[in-house]
């Protein structure tokens, strides 16, 4: 990791005159094993490195990146970034971050054990995951994928303003996508397990969830259209909360693309709703002690008791708003720092999913959604996605349903949140899932 920071510092040292430089260096090592029919379908061992260079001078910025740590290529990127700068329109808020004295959280996100874990053992896990998934239920007819993957990511940020930040994280992930078949009908189900090193992984959960989710959909029919109380499974609510989090970026607000601009202090959600973005929570798969500009990440309360409390900022949006960064710059080495949430979660409630379902006479449990990118417009707030799940009748899960949509608006859904489960679950995405009861959504089916 020292090497990455050394490289970043060397490049920062090339700054001329009063120009500001920000250099981000990333090194990622990944392994992916896919199993199929008892054999290794593919084994990928990959190492990616890259450097991004941002130059700020005269209130303008230019950026360039290169997918290697080769110093000649980095020099070329610096020259390109300087050239690019001359075409930008001046913006008084433009600039790299300044150290703000906030100490990065001390978190254990790196496990040396992963680096030493033998490839053979990873292969064995993928093979065993496939075997377990196939064996979980006699109706499992096949596997679309059974996969082990891991990554070791190290990064460094250095700036002419004195920022020196490094971070390193490990992560590993098992996922199974099962096919269940009965009477010529096929259904699919997804299961996974994740952690910081292989010891955290629970193979049977991944296999059993995939099999259970696929088999319980067998016989699914298209439901009639209407309005129903809907229970979102954690996997689904996390995707919804990720979209909500996206609308709370100060960049979206300042550029007139957020539903919630001008709504600070307003009741935007049901009174029981508290939404937090906390990348310093080590349980989050996306936890990180520093942000894309090298500032410490921090816990940001976004919605408290239904009231909109704050937007998230990077240093540029903060300057424009006359506030301080919330440590929410997000980026890879190939882009300039944007603004975004990283680890959003709802403050959980007291009841399990089964207890919440028991309180619903006529409703729908949604286990999967599709087309979030095509049917949700975060600017207008329109929300419409394909869905599959199980009917709830008399407080019990009943027949499976599929090929329908659920629709509302993002604003309405926040206000219609009737209950939040106790089953907070960290997922491989920027939000945690939790069982969520939404008072009324429109179901479009037959």
């Amino acid at each position: 990791m020292g090497e990455l920071l050394d490289l970043a510092e060397r490049v920062v040292g090339l700054a001329e005159g009063s120009e500001q430089l920000e250099v981000v260096v990333v090194h990622e090592h990944e392994t992916e094993v896919r199993a199929y029919e008892g054999e290794v379908e593919s084994l990928t061992v990959a190492e990616s490195r890259g450097v991004g260079v941002r130059v700020v001078f005269g209130n303008r910025q230019g950026f360039a990146y290169t997918g290697t740590l080769d110093e000649a290529a980095v020099g070329e990127a610096l020259a390109e970034a300087r050239d690019n700068l001359s075409f930008a329109t001046p913006d008084e808020y433009c600039g790299v971050a300044e150290p703000d004295g906030v100490e990065p959280a001390d978190m254990d996100l790196f496990r040396a054990s992963l680096a030493d874990y033998p490839t053979d053992a990873k292969v064995a896990m993928a093979l065993e995951l496939e075997r377990l998934t196939r064996a979980a239920d006699e109706r499992i007819s096949g596997i679309e994928s059974a996969e082990y993957s891991d990554s070791i990511t190290e990064s460094a940020v250095a700036t002419t303003t004195g920022i020196r930040a490094t971070s390193r994280e490990t992560g590993c992930f098992l996922s199974a996508y099962a096919l269940a078949e009965q009477d010529g009908e096929t259904q699919t189900g997804f299961g996974f397990s994740l952690g910081r090193d292989p010891a955290d992984l629970d193979m049977s959960t991944a296999a059993d969830d995939a099999a259970e989710r696929a088999t319980r959909m067998l016989g699914a029919v298209k439901p009639p259209s209407g309005r129903l109380t809907v229970v979102l499974d954690p996997w689904v609510s996390a995707q919804f909360l990720g979209i909500v989090g996206g609308t709370l970026s100060a960049e979206m607000v300042q550029k007139g693309r957020s539903l919630f601009a001008d709504r600070l202090g307003d009741e935007v959600a049901a009174p029981g709703v508290t939404l937090i973005d906390d990348p310093t929570d080590a349980r989050a798969f996306t936890a990180s002690s520093t942000d894309g500009e090298g500032l410490a990440t921090r816990r940001n309360l976004l919605i408290e008791g239904g009231r909109l409390d704050r937007f998230v900022h990077n240093s540029q949006t903060a300057r424009r708003a006359g506030t301080v960064s919330t440590g929410s710059a997000v980026r890879g080495y190939s882009s300039t720092p944007g603004v975004g949430v990283r680890a959003v979660s709802l403050l959980p409630g007291q009841l399990s999913q089964a207890e919440l379902v028991a309180g619903i006479d006529d409703g729908l449990l949604i286990q999967g959604v599709s087309g979030l990118h095509s049917g949700v417009n975060p600017v207008s707030g329109d929300f419409s996605t394909g869905a599959e799940g199980l009917r709830i009748r008399g407080g019990e899960l009943a027949e499976p349903v599929r090929e329908f949509t659920i629709a509302s608006t993002i604003q309405r859904m926040l206000l219609d949140m009737e209950a939040i489960g106790s089953d907070l679950q960290w997922l491989p995405m920027k939000a945690a899932g939790v069982t969520l009861v939404i008072g009324e959504l429109t179901i479009s089916g037959t």
């Binding site: 061992v45 997918g67 690019n84 700068l85 550029k255 007139g256 599709s370 419409s384 090929e403 479009s444």
Partner: protein
Amino acid sequence: MDHELNGDADAGAPIVEPDVLEEALTSAMGTGAEFAEVFVEDRRSISALFDDGRVEELTSGRDRGAGLRVVVGDTTGFAHTADLSPAGLRVAAEAAASAARGGGGGVREVALGAVSGPAPGPVQIMPRDVSKARKVALLERADSAARGSDGAITQVAVRYADSHRRIQVANSDGLLTGDRQVRTLFSVSCVASGDMGMQTGRESIGHTVGFEVFDSVDVEELARRAAGRALLKLDAVPAPSGEMPVVIGPGGGGVLFHEACGHGLEADLVAKSASVFAGRRGEVVAAPIVTLIDDGTMPGEWGRYAIDDEGRPAQRNVLIKDGVLTDYMWDHLRARREGRPSSGNGRRQGYRHLPMVRMTNTYLGSGDADPDEIIAGTDHGVYVAQLGGGQVNTATGDFVFGMTEAYMIEDGRLTNPIRDGNLIGNGPQTLLDIDAIAGDFAMGSPGTCGKDGQGVPVGDGTPTLRVTRLTVGGTAA
């Protein structure tokens, strides 16, 4: 290389010399592998963003490296490197070979043939020969045009991007080939604000040509169309809910076929029985008026290339002919197992990725209906003028696609614009439910198709068509 014959000076020099590729392949085959391949890529890109009334930034990028693939039995080993030196490639080759676990040992020399393959697509004005200032000027013109079209346009983002990608593919069968792929993209996204909140409108063009694309594309007109779409939706009513006939306008409907059956016709998914179209070759899978083609050779289109990322020339593949499923799409590995040639559909996002079966430009052949009559013959339904993206579960066939400009059809006439939402259907049923296809074929907007985490550029197109029954996912009764 014969690329030089094309008058394209920079395509001339190989990225890596053939003897170095031979050596890497020999290392890869040394452990008893059945097949080895080296894929070399050198990609430069520029993207310029005009947002919030100003040129926000220009970004330049370069990615250069090689991916090495070794196949032993049913197992593929893969490794990549950004180090294109002989030593760098040898290390990656050994890593890929060890991942594939060859057991045979011994030496198998690989001798590459002469460079072969079709010439790259013609480019008149290489984007990199055009000054950044000219590119930025396009952005400013589009921004002004969008803002000038109505005071209700409150935000505009305009993006220009081009990329210059050179690839080389060599494999243990002796193949040595290469391509130079140039792409130019321009998009405008607008926000309009009214009493009912904000709405968005987007237009984009993308072609596998150079800067000459702007001789025929008027960026101001493109910007006004994007603005018009956002403005129109300020008065939009909530989309209806439930099953009804859906008419899809020319150009817009390609996404429907991409999702309803395109992915399901990819041989990798078919081989795992993860497609509802598995085992159905030769069967009627669609209405007899449906002929669906995937064509990687369409000049200038977004999904066009001379060779795929396994070195196979792009082809025109008829997938469905008069309603009958004629063939799937194939990559090298799937085809090899079936003892047939690849269909030129082996693609990858970049050198860090394994290739797999992907679409190119997927389109529906024209019919003989009159587009106005199709609408006039629809009592109550929805007309979709522009589709957003979509998604499919190939195993069940259930698919969705978004509508970003749509109208109610009442008594055979287009009436109110409706708000954004998804439509849902089941692929095999939807293909049978197509009851009218017009002759007004058009290609749609450039797209990026995602599969297993890899994005590749794809095109699509359709004439006006009608599906007798799809479920519209709105909130209105």
